[in-house]
């Protein structure tokens, strides 16, 4: 009887360890994104699908309302933040640990031709050493411009590629082709 219980417990332990092991096994790729209206989020999710990467959303401590995003009013939050390159909106939600990832895709919408300032907050507070970082953006019309280079400079670590602007409704095939072309 005691032997049977011991064997069962051993089996349970093994299963437990197995389950635990699965949870801690991560992809070596990560897609980080910030999305105010959902466009970048859609692209990030597709990208994570295509690359088998983990997904992490940068959630602002103070969410952006529709009024905050009103770009025809110069006094609204997003416009004011973009006018000031030094401002650093706070990030809320859980933090992410970057060690262990070999490739990190970092995505954001283009606001007033540049990266949203919350992206600056993020890159300044994380270490990208040993990681290949690939910025991507969505926009009304702008290309990626200098946003990737800006973030690379602020991060001060990591191997930053040029990155690209992706269409809001980019297809998985197109994404796959882009990712393959990066290697």
């Amino acid at each position: 009887m005691k032997k049977a219980i011991a064997i069962m417990m051993a089996l349970c332990l093994l299963l437990g360890v197995g389950a635990l092991a699965e949870e801690t096994v991560r992809s070596d790729a990560l897609v980080i994104y910030f999305s105010a209206t959902g466009t970048t989020k859609g692209v990030a999710e597709k990208l994570a699908n295509v690359t088998g990467a983990d997904l992490y959303e940068i959630v602002p401590a103070e969410p952006y309302t529709d009024e905050d995003l009103n770009y025809s009013d110069r006094s609204t939050r997003a416009t004011r933040e973009q006018d000031d390159p030094q401002t650093r909106p706070e990030i809320g939600g859980e933090d992410i640990e970057l060690t262990g990832y070999a490739t990190v895709y970092i995505g954001y919408p283009i606001w007033w031709g540049e990266e949203p300032r919350i992206m600056c907050t993020f890159v300044e507070s994380h270490d990208f050493t040993g990681i290949t970082v690939i910025p991507f953006c969505t926009s009304g019309g702008s290309g990626i411009g200098r946003s990737g280079d800006d973030l690379a400079q602020l991060a001060g670590s990591g191997d930053w590629l040029k990155g690209a602007r992706l269409n809001g409704n980019v297809g998985e095939d197109e994404l796959r082709a882009w990712v393959d072309g990066l290697k």
């Binding site: 209206t37 529709d66 009024e67 995003l69 009103n70 770009y71 025809s72 110069r74 416009t79 973009q82 006018d83 007033w112 031709g113 540049e114 009304g140 019309g141 702008s142 290309g143 990626i144 411009g145 200098r146 602007r165 269409n167 409704n169």
Partner: protein, 269 residues
């Protein structure tokens, strides 16, 4: 004029026109090429001024006919709008002259660049048109008439596209940054640009014919009216962007957060 000089002139003229059409296809050329082509176009425009320096020298000489007055005003506006377009473009450069980025507040410079570039487009079309009668002098009157009639139809389509693509909003400083359709085939974007330019060139052409008065004026005025009517009728008949047979290269997609413009208001209903 000696042939070599004439050839140089024509080459520069054609170059500027081709570059203009490409510049208005930002999403097809990409941002880096847009900047470099812009620098190239600026160089050509400067060369064009140097080639035509005698026009500057004669500004205060001789009699001003109606045609000459209109042409001179137009040229003055054009050189100012182009200069502003180029300077504002350089002040937000990421590739060609990145050291100029931010010399003036970028959000301001962007709106100016978008507005001035569209004014330049319109004025360049008119400017081109004003010089067409001189180019067609060799043709018989009947041929010119037939050509005018055919162009009136295409010009009407060009006006329709101009309206549908929300271009007037750019002219009146209502666009803080461009919404571009990246999914549209580059060739189609260029074709639309040709049609839109053709509308303004046609209007300039017929205006020149009417002003110079060497042919019956009413014909050219009537053709201008016909082109405008065609354009406006198409715009009224095909209001919905999604349903229209021409998909827009510069479609001002539904702007979020309450930006109301003349044309998006109409098409949203």
């Amino acid at each position: 004029m000696r042939t070599r000089q004439k050839n140089l002139r024509r080459t520069v003229d054609i170059g500027m026109t081709v570059l203009l059409l490409l510049q208005m296809a930002y999403q097809a050329t990409g941002e880096a090429a847009h900047e470099w082509l812009g620098m190239g176009m600026t160089a050509l425009v400067i060369i064009h001024q140097i080639i035509n320096r005698r026009w500057y020298a004669s500004t205060f000489k001789g009699r001003y006919t109606a045609y000459r007055a209109v042409s001179a005003c137009l040229n003055a506006m054009l050189i100012v709008s182009f200069a502003l377009t180029a300077l504002c473009g350089m002040a937000m450069s990421n590739y060609a002259v990145p050291f100029l980025y931010g010399v003036v507040r970028v959000s301001l410079v962007r709106m100016a660049h978008l507005s001035m570039s569209h004014w330049s487009f319109v004025l360049m079309g008119l400017h081109l048109g004003l010089h067409v009668p001189a180019m067609l002098q060799g043709l018989k009157e009947k041929v010119r008439r037939a050509l005018s009639a055919a162009c009136a139809a295409v010009a009407g389509v060009g006006l329709y596209l101009f309206l549908r693509n929300g271009m007037p909003d750019y002219l009146f400083f209502r666009v803080p940054f461009a919404f571009l359709d990246y999914e549209k085939a580059g060739a189609l974007v260029l074709l639309e640009n040709v049609a839109m330019l053709l509308f303004w060139a046609f209007m300039g052409w017929q205006a020149a014919v009417a002003l110079r008065g060497r042919e019956r004026r009413w014909v050219s005025v009537a053709l201008m009216i016909v082109a405008v009517i065609i354009g406006m009728a198409l715009n009224a008949a095909l209001p919905n962007r999604e349903e229209a047979p021409f998909s827009s290269g510069w479609s001002a997609a539904v702007p979020r957060a309450g930006m109301e413009t003349i044309y998006t208001q109409r098409s949203l209903s």
